[in-house]
């Protein structure tokens, strides 16, 4: 289908984009890579009056070393995330989850920040962002503010980004030397996760020193499996300890509840091995 008419604007700075959002009113929408938004527009599920294309904002691209953390520009594409050596070395879980997003063509255009803002509960980058304690940096008319991932995902396709605001960067703490795995279950190629589990584990001398586990598509937003995490810490990195901890994963209804436990076990096993 052909989308409804809209006004197309290309700001060259974040400040200009924020100004445009204010001027165009609440029916204006930011377009990043457009890989979720364009289909939505074509199906006329949304009909914004203006699209503000932020792909020209080079200040929003790239991954930067910020000491204890990485600063990932919201417009960094999935393809760039997959190949970035800082992400590979310090936030491997993010790379592994990004490897499973859609297909190569979509990963060339789609962006990290765009996926987070779209906040599809089946989106693969929400659970890793939550598990890794990412912090979202949001620009608005009153300057910038920071929102931790635990407060960012507000519900079904909903985030803390208010009308008039733009996600500019994501700060991800460094996890050097942690093992990681993203275990995703779907029926066919390029399908959304039915359930997926994001796991990162720090093993020291055969003992699990720390663990982060996030679940994809088991609720209105990503879910942190805190019971699994706490059951793992201090345990030996063995199949028995993992199996025991994985039983604490929960996803509410019966089918997904079972999936959550099985996939958590697989994700942790692979994370400990890697």
């Amino acid at each position: 289908m052909i989308p409804a008419e809209f006004k197309y604007l290309c700001p060259s700075t974040v400040d200009e984009a924020v100004r445009m959002l204010a001027e165009e009113g609440e029916d204006a929408k930011i377009i990043a890579g457009g890989q979720s938004l364009v289909p939505v527009l074509r199906m006329r599920l949304a009909a914004p009056t203006a699209l503000i294309d932020i792909s020209g904002l080079t200040e929003l691209t790239g991954v930067h070393d910020a000491g204890d953390s990485l600063l990932i520009g919201a417009m960094t594409t999935h393809y760039e995330v997959q190949r970035d050596h800082l992400i590979h070395d310090h936030a491997l879980l993010l790379k592994l989850a990004t490897d499973t997003v859609a297909d190569p063509q979509v990963r060339h255009r789609g962006t990290f920040g765009g996926s987070l803002c779209h906040a599809d509960p089946a989106g693969d980058l929400l659970a890793p962002a939550l598990a890794l304690d990412a912090v979202m940096i949001i620009a608005g008319p009153d300057g910038r503010r920071e929102v931790p991932a635990s407060e960012f995902f507000a519900g079904y396709f909903e985030t803390a980004v208010a009308p008039g605001e733009i996600l500019t960067d994501v700060r991800v703490p460094k996890y050097p030397g942690w093992g990681a795995h993203y275990e995703k279950l779907n029926r066919v190629a390029q399908a959304w996760s039915i359930v997926a589990v994001a796991a990162a584990v720090q093993v020291r001398g055969g003992t699990i020193a720390a663990a982060r586990v996030g679940l994809t598509n088991v609720g209105a937003g990503p879910v942190r499996a805190v019971d699994v995490e706490s059951a793992l810490v201090g345990q030996p990195a063995t199949a028995e300890a993992i199996a025991e901890a994985a039983l604490r994963a929960s996803a509410g209804d019966g089918y997904k509840d079972n999936l959550a436990r099985v996939l958590t076990g697989r994700a942790l096993t692979a994370a400990v091995a890697g």
């Binding site: 006004k7 074509r42 297909d103 190569p104």
Partner: protein
């Protein structure tokens, strides 16, 4: 809105409506109907073209977003009447039946081979994950991509197109200061 786009080596300046999809611009304004619309939902990959050297789905992007960029379509691959090695490999391996998915398959296969010069079965299938074929069962497509990889290996081309650096290295000073 005014845009300037380079398509298959030719720069076009056009006035387009912002809601015009890139694939419709290519087909209806430029007459480049080699790039086809398959599913209309972003799944099938038949409309795959290259944007600045990387594969994208041209139904998932507006023409205005291509302003100032370079697009390569299936129609820009042949050189001097000779098919691209990937096109040649698809023909020789019977990698198509109805042929509708073929433009997208070939554009995505070229993208894949740029990253993976000697892909195994699994790598080809993963690399073509975003392209659907409803006739072949993919077997011959996978074969064609691997055949193309061999055709594109260093030293695999016609003798006259091979470059040797012998005339350079033979003149390098050997040892000494």
């Amino acid at each position: 809105m005014k845009i300037s786009v380079n398509v298959d080596g030719v720069t076009y300046a056009d006035e387009v409506e912002p809601r015009l999809l890139l694939v419709h611009y290519l087909r209806e304004r430029l007459g480049r109907t080699g790039t086809v619309v398959g599913c209309d939902t972003g799944n099938c990959g038949a409309c795959t073209v290259h944007l600045d050297g990387h594969s994208i789905k041209s139904c998932q992007m507006f023409a205005v977003q291509a302003n100032g960029h370079e697009i390569t379509t299936i129609e820009g691959l042949a050189r001097d009447g000779r098919l691209h090695p990937v096109q040649e490999a698809f023909r020789n391996n019977h990698a198509l039946q109805c042929g509708f998915c073929t433009p997208g398959m070939i554009m995505q296969a070229i993208d894949l081979l740029a990253d993976e010069s000697d892909p195994d079965d699994e790598t080809v299938r993963k690399g073509l994950e975003g392209n659907l074929c409803r006739c072949t069962g993919y077997q011959n497509i996978v074969r064609a991509v691997q055949d193309a990889a061999h055709r594109m290996r260093p030293g695999a081309g016609p003798k006259m197109e091979q470059h040797s650096d012998e005339h350079v290295t033979s003149k390098q000073p050997v040892g000494g200061e």
